[in-house]
Symmetry: C2
Subunit: 300 residues, 2 copies
DNA sequence: ATGTAGACTTCGGTCGACC
DNA sequence: AGGTCGACCGAAGTCTACA
């Protein structure tokens, strides 16, 4: 870990900026030199102003300051996410065993997250661990969430659905999710890629409504998916959006056109040979069958 | 702009962490209170440690600290990027006129960027402004780039190609681009979405080789696109990757299968009705014609 | 435009006590 | 577990001057 000032100079030179451009109005010229040489630390608020003047994101600064490496906790998080996304569940379980009793607070937080990942992967009943219960109550009691909480909520929907002891309506959570996501959207952009999380959340909720045969609620989800279209979405989010709209058609709209779009998505996905993805084929298979059942039941 | 400590408390409470969990080993218990109440500032290096303990990204901290708004320069950047991506060039030109002579350093940097956006949009000749020249020389003289520089390089390739006064080989820039991108890739993830920039860069270079009839160089690009496949790519990057591989097939491989993939991509894209995207249709049209010309010329 | 040095002021930061 | 107060020390930060 370099001294903050040393990294600041490094970045300033990469960007070809003068000391004046970066420090004017923040610290004095003489102190700027002592700061950059690593002799002195600096106040956090001044540091943030300097980052703005450098036109670099605070996260990138940290990354460079840490010798082009992620922080310890980010390294852990990206690793467990990688294991989860590549369906390496046994490695993930092994990781959990090794770290669940760590004395390090950050490691324990990550361990709780991994527990949740493992527990909610299949929708069947599972014992509610204390960690997960604590997480639930904390999320439900807090009105404001950070990006991390927003990312976790999707995983909690299946927990709520399978454990009736939580007397929370999914619609209440949805409202809170939407309110929190709005905080992270700006006029022209989605800097935290929060819309992807929202699409994902809607997908989980939609599936949950279908599984529990709450068809009125499921029907109403179309509007949510449509409204997403007004916002800037990347391909990941748009594909997911179209996937869920197509599933909606299977149940409540034009079955054939829904099926056609699902086939198109699967066909398109075949161009890539990748191991990273939510299981579009599996979802399609389940939903094609279940929607037909639903349609038949309505006819009778 | 809130005091740093006040925001820190806010986030700590959202996350349900105790002061001990966040400050132990960094600052004393009594000072933690003065800090959180906003009475005192704090050293930057301690602040960074605290961010780690909060398990929040520095960028998100800044965003919350700035009352859930982007910094001034980020607001400007996202706005001009939005205008560019929605092809609102007249608005962009108007923006440039209003801001090009600003005394604010950050605004001037952004103005230089906008100038480059406007200048390189069409590949025809354009007068080289002083700002763009300075940017070029600076980028070429600096070995290390930040994410911002990496994002700009793709735009500079057409400039280099049309202005023979820059005696730089594209292959030299490619090498430097690759070296810098590697810095921002970690073992399990691509936290700065740098692979998207790399795919985009390769696409620009590939097109440039084709335009200048450097077919040997263009032929060699296949390997670059293929190698990207080993890395974690999101849908945006994967679509771009497959697009360029398909164009490669048009020229040097199986014309029919290339054409088929391009048609699949366009067909798939039709599912979405969005105004945000690189112009896949236009690229396809140009390349279908040009590749046939190339193939005919080879037969003779 | 940047780097260094000394003299001086302000405030970041600890400790202990008490609520 | 927070929160607050007073006393104390060292480091952050400025100014001036000279390279």
């Amino acid at each position: 870990m370099e001294k903050v000032g040393v990294t600041t100079r490094k970045i300033r030179l990469i960007k070809g900026l003068s000391q004046k451009q970066v420090y004017a109005g923040v610290i004095s010229r003489s102190f700027a030199n002592r700061f950059e040489s690593g002799a002195n630390d600096i106040q956090a608020s001044k540091f943030l102003k300097i980052l703005d003047n450098l036109a670099i994101s605070a996260t990138e600064f940290q990354y460079i300051n840490n010798n082009y490496e992620l922080s310890q906790i980010d390294q852990m998080l990206t690793k467990v996410n990688y294991l989860y996304n590549t369906h390496a569940f046994s490695s993930l379980a092994h990781w959990l065993q090794q770290h669940k009793n760590s004395t390090n607070g950050q490691v324990r937080i990550t361990a709780g997250y991994v527990e949740l990942l493992l527990a909610t992967y299949d929708y069947r009943e599972f014992p509610l661990s204390k960690n997960i219960q604590l997480l639930m109550y904390h999320l439900l009691s807090e009105k404001n969430w950070t990006v991390q909480e927003i990312r976790i909520v999707s995983m909690l929907v299946p927990v709520i659905a399978t454990h009736k002891q939580f007397k929370v309506k999914i619609s209440t959570i949805t409202k809170r999710m939407e309110q929190n996501c709005i905080h992270y959207l700006t006029k022209y952009s989605d800097p935290f890629q929060i819309n992807n999380e929202l699409v994902n959340y809607y997908g989980v909720v939609f599936q949950n409504y279908l599984n529990s045969k709450s068809y009125t609620n499921a029907f109403a989800m179309k509007e949510k998916f449509i409204n997403l279209g007004e916002k800037p979405l990347d391909w990941d989010a748009r594909v997911a959006q179209q996937l869920w709209l197509a599933v909606w058609e299977l149940y409540f709209g034009n079955f054939k056109s829904g099926k056609l779009i699902l086939e198109k998505i699967i066909d398109f996905k075949k161009i890539f040979k990748t191991k990273f993805d939510l299981n579009i084929e599996a979802i399609t298979k389940v939903r094609l069958q279940d929607s037909q059942k639903y349609r038949n039941s309505k006819k009778e």
